[in-house]
């Protein structure tokens, strides 16, 4: 086995030094009748063989880069500069552990400090943590945090929240014994969120751009929430949108959570991604997850450490703010490097290209007979009402080599009134030819 350094002679010498006759003696604590004789699994395989096996599985899938691609709804295909993937594969980043020994993990720690600053600035908030698992779990943690801050246990979820995010919050809250008021899906952005907020509300959770692509004016929602002592939790699934859209912090959000996959991270069938989590300074000790802080070393030099760990599970056990004991370190690193390469100038430009491509695509698609656009405003994603079942249309287009978007029924299967809705995303990777091909094919499929 190529990963195991010992020769049989080494093993024999080591057993002799330990003073046992066989390796099995070291497993004496496992009752003999429970010792496994063997596993019904294949035997050792060389690199070529593994590459062949996994390569065969990979070849059955259609990669996003190989076709005109318009699938979003919480995960986005963006171009990631080659240097990002190269740098995250450096041994010292890839194969290091959580930075518990700060003197020899200043690389990771400084990256986390830079990440926290970038996320805070991007969201318009005062502090950010060193990343969560993903946007959906970050949203559930934000609701739990709002409950700690407000001492209330009823969250209101806007109808534009990603259905999976809604489900994750509902599962966590139900298990924790908390209440959730989930407003019905809001494909037209006409719901009255304000009416759902009352004196028992701990927080109102609003996604913008919403699952259906609408930009939501958060300021009046924040105002109403604050007037009754509730918090506004602002959610985004498309981090790139913050390059062009007013940040939630400037609109009065108390906690901002979202998915950072768009910056630096590949699609990877849904994970691993990177959850972003930011809030106001006064709530920092109620925040879940890891935090990196600045300090000095014994010689007075600036350095970084993990800090405020008295909120965390390894110290507080069942009194901790959260059970989380890790972060998405490597994904956060990819985010940070990509963001550094973009900078203010590049992020704004890529965001404008995303928006321009989406505007052009929307204008093309509404020309197709029977197709209606449900959005007044959007960033790089919008919702179409088709004259027939959207899932069937998507399959028909996939058969023509176009991945056209996400039928809402994939995520809201129990609601026939949404069956004709299609969520379409267009990023900087789409070309004019991709858009033209899509529009023409949609016209044929609907004809």
């Amino acid at each position: 086995m190529r990963f195991l350094p010992h020769s049989e002679a080494d093993r024999g010498a080591m057993l002799a030094k330990i003073g046992v006759a066989s390796i099995d003696e070291l497993f004496a604590d496992i009752p003999a009748r429970l010792r496994v004789k063997g596993l019904d699994l294949p035997s050792v395989a060389g690199e070529m063989s593994v590459e062949r096996t996994l390569g065969r599985m990979a070849a059955k899938n259609v990669p996003a880069s190989s076709v005109p691609f318009f699938v979003g709804a919480g995960a986005y295909k963006h171009h990631v500069p080659a240097s990002v993937d190269h740098l995250i594969q450096r041994s010292e980043f890839l194969t290091s552990y959580t930075p518990y020994q700060p003197e020899i993990t200043q690389g990771t720690l400084q990256v986390l400090f830079e990440f926290q600053t970038q996320v805070a600035n991007l969201t318009g908030m005062e502090v950010a943590n060193a990343s969560m698992y993903d946007g959906s779990t970050a949203t559930a943690e934000a609701v739990l945090m709002a409950h700690r801050v407000t001492k209330r246990k009823k969250a209101v979820l806007a109808g534009g929240l990603h259905p999976h995010y809604r489900a994750v919050v509902e599962t966590t809250s139900a298990m924790a014994g908390d209440a959730v008021v989930a407003l019905p899906p809001d494909p037209t952005a006409t719901e009255d969120i304000l009416a759902a907020i009352d004196g028992e509300t701990s927080c109102v959770v609003v996604q913008s751009p919403s699952f259906y692509g609408h930009l939501i004016d958060l300021a009046p929602i924040a105002q109403k929430a604050h007037s009754v002592g509730a918090l506004l939790v602002a959610v985004f699934t498309e981090a790139m949108s913050l390059g062009l859209v007013e940040p939630p912090g400037a609109q009065g959000a108390d906690i901002v959570v979202g998915e950072g996959q768009s910056i630096g991270n590949p699609l990877t069938f849904g994970g691993p991604y990177v959850g972003l989590f930011a809030t106001r300074q006064k709530f920092v000790r109620q925040m879940p997850g890891r935090l990196c802080g600045e300090t000095v070393d014994a010689e007075g030099r600036r350095g970084f450490v993990l800090t405020l760990s008295t909120r965390e599970q390894h110290i507080r056990r069942d009194k901790a703010t959260s059970n989380i004991c890790t972060n998405s370190g490597l994904c956060a690193l990819a985010f940070t490097i990509h963001m550094t390469l973009l900078g203010e100038k590049g992020l704004g430009r890529v965001a404008r290209i995303n928006h321009a491509n989406a505007v052009e695509l929307a204008e093309m698609l509404v020309e197709v007979p029977g197709v209606a656009l449900l959005n007044d405003s959007f960033f790089n994603e919008f919702t179409l009402r088709l004259p027939k079942d959207a899932a069937e249309v998507v399959e028909a287009l996939a058969a023509r080599g176009i991945l056209a978007g996400v039928p809402v029924s994939r995520l809201e299967p129990g609601r026939p009134e949404l069956a004709n809705l299609l969520v379409v995303a267009s990023t900087e990777v789409n070309t004019v030819e991709d858009r033209t091909t899509f529009a023409a094919a949609l016209q044929e499929v609907l004809a």
Binding site: P5, H6, K17, I18, L26, P31, L34, R35, G38, L39, L41, P42, V50, E51, M57, A58, A75, T98, E103, T105, Q106, G107, V111, E114, Y133, T137, T171, D217, G243, L244, P247, P266, L267, T268, F269, G270, P272, V284, L291, C292, V305, T307, L308, Q313, H314, D318, N323, C325, G329, L330, M339, T340, G343, G346, R349, R352, A356, E360, A398, P413
Partner: protein, 523 residues
């Protein structure tokens, strides 16, 4: 040596704010690297995109009004910045990393190559399932391996990390209890448990009752039996435990727990010690998470991502969350919503958007395929062999709380051997840094005073272990001989000397702020 952290002089004759041995703060290859925010510029970008042609924006009134404050770097500047930062990190690729309970083993680069195949890395979780049958097949195959290794009935792949897997397992237990309409709200957690265990139970409304440990750190079945009642929902037990020992009485404990109508959650953090040696399903476990990064070598990446699939016994199988893989006649099917369920399938809900950590699934399966069943068993055996080799190499000089007995894949020492030396566990660990080693896990488990938990893993050769043992023996003898100044000063040969963690916590500085201009700072 002090780094110039407050901006550089911009004109000849202007002084830096701090005194440095050198102007840059660098000393040959000991590189200082300023923060991105100190070296980046707002008008620089490292990507080439043209401005889009004129178009009519559709942002309503929500177009961003103020700048973001995100400095950029050109590509060569960015590469240099992050390469330099990387050089301030210790890693398993650069040396032995004996973190007990964390398991730092070799990360084969084949895994990375496989995860980057376009058909696996460049597919969207919501593209039509008809365009990703290979992805579903891969998830199914990973599940098959995990079930075979554990002897369990069903698997939830979606949890994003070990602690998230614990949450998944405990949620399934809570759902099963609710389905029976029972008022069970107590969870038993041994003293030696990972902090995540009580935190997880508390998160979903359970009351945590601590099970005291025996002198050797193992759990006494009698202590468990004394705490069992109709109120008890589950026990959360780590096996092999955090003292590096297999819980000898695990079957008796499981039987008692089941007899009382409760469930047995096993923290699978140390599963890597028993792959191919014992199946947890046969020990009476009802749910166990598996840290793919620990047992199957997906890289830690400075803190994550992890992946924490959970395996379930028949008693809990039906409660596994969405999504899950169902094996049908025509092949594996990804079940994503309640509307697709068959009778008897009662998932407790959904824990994550999409399907889980696919990138980690690929890496783990690549590792499993590489080893095969026989190789995985050999890896467990070598991990246990290595830990015991370190144990006997040090047992005459260091103190073992469990007495002189064989351990599993990690060996636990306490700090009694430092009594009277004036050297603390922390000092000892920092001295290891100067010898070129990442310290072992310290001060955990909590049941042992000044714990030092060493896990060499199967990746280390005999020569590597011999040098490690010799180094520790040298350090112990230095401490005992009164040669202790270097312990208190350590680390001396790291990018930083000891860092002030109290200061960091007392006045948290979590974000870079522009320093005050010179004129104002002087006042």
């Amino acid at each position: 040596m002090t780094m110039n952290t407050h901006g550089r002089p911009t004109a000849p004759g202007e002084a830096a704010i701090t005194n440095s041995d050198t102007f840059t703060g660098n000393r040959a290859l000991q590189i200082e690297e300023a923060l991105l925010f100190e070296i980046g510029r707002h008008d620089v970008t490292g990507v080439d995109f043209d401005e889009p042609e004129a178009f009519t924006p559709r942002l309503g009134k929500l177009a961003r009004k103020a700048p973001i404050d995100l400095p950029g770097l050109s590509e060569p500047e960015a590469v240099r910045h992050y390469v330099r930062l990387s050089q301030k990190n210790y890693s398993i690729d650069s040396g032995l990393y004996p973190l007990g309970s964390c398991t730092m083993k070799h990360n084969p680069r084949l895994n990375e190559k496989m995860a980057r195949l376009p058909g696996l890395g460049d597919i969207h979780p919501l593209q039509p399932l008809s365009t990703v049958p290979g992805a579903v097949e891969l998830m199914s195959e990973l599940g098959r391996w995990l079930l075979e290794m554990t002897g369990m009935t069903s698997v939830a792949l979606s949890p994003k990390a070990g602690a998230h897997g614990e949450l998944c397992g405990m949620m399934a237990i809570k759902a099963a209890i609710a389905a029976k309409g029972e008022p069970r709200d107590i969870v038993l957690v041994p003293e030696s448990a990972h902090g995540t265990n009580p935190a997880t139970a508390a998160l979903i409304g359970f009351k945590v009752v601590t099970v005291p440990a025996r002198a050797d750190g193992t759990v006494d079945p009698e202590a468990v039996k004394a705490l069992l009642s109709p109120q008890v929902a589950a026990i959360m037990l780590t096996n092999p435990n955090t003292c590096g020992l297999f819980e000898r009485d695990v079957v008796e404990i499981a039987a008692a727990v089941h007899e009382a109508g409760a469930y047995f959650y096993c923290d699978g953090a140390n599963f890597n010690a028993i792959v191919g040696k014992a199946k947890v399903g046969e020990l009476g476990v009802d749910a166990m998470h598996i840290n793919l990064h620990k047992t199957f070598s997906t890289p830690h990446g400075g803190g994550g991502p992890g992946a924490g699939p959970v395996v379930f016994s028949e008693r809990l199988a039906a409660f596994a969350p969405l999504p899950f893989i169902r094996i049908e006649a025509e092949g594996p099917v990804l079940v994503e919503s309640d509307t697709e369920l068959k009778p008897g399938e009662t998932p407790f809900g959904r824990m994550v958007a999409f399907h889980g950590q696919m990138g980690m699934f690929v890496r783990a399966l690549s590792y499993m395929l590489s080893h095969g069943g026989d190789g995985l068993r050999q890896a467990s055996e070598d991990a246990v062999l290595n830990a015991n080799y370190v144990r006997v190499g040090l047992r005459d000089l260091m103190s073992q709380p469990s007495g002189d007995r064989t351990c599993m894949h990690e060996v636990l020492f306490d700090d009694h051997f430092l009594d009277g030396t004036g050297v603390t566990t922390l000092d000892f660990a920092k001295a290891m840094i100067d010898e070129g080693y990442h310290p072992m896990t310290m001060y955990f488990p909590l049941v042992v005073h000044g714990a030092m938990l060493i896990e060499p893993t199967e990746s280390e050769s005999k020569a590597s272990l011999d040098l490690f043992v010799a180094t520790l023996r040298d350090l112990v003898m230095k401490a005992k001989s009164g040669d202790t100044a270097m312990f208190h000063e350590a680390p001396r040969f790291a990018p930083r000397r000891r860092l002030d963690e109290t200061k960091a916590a007392r006045s948290p500085k979590l974000k870079w702020e522009k320093p005050q201009p010179w004129s104002e700072a002087a006042e």
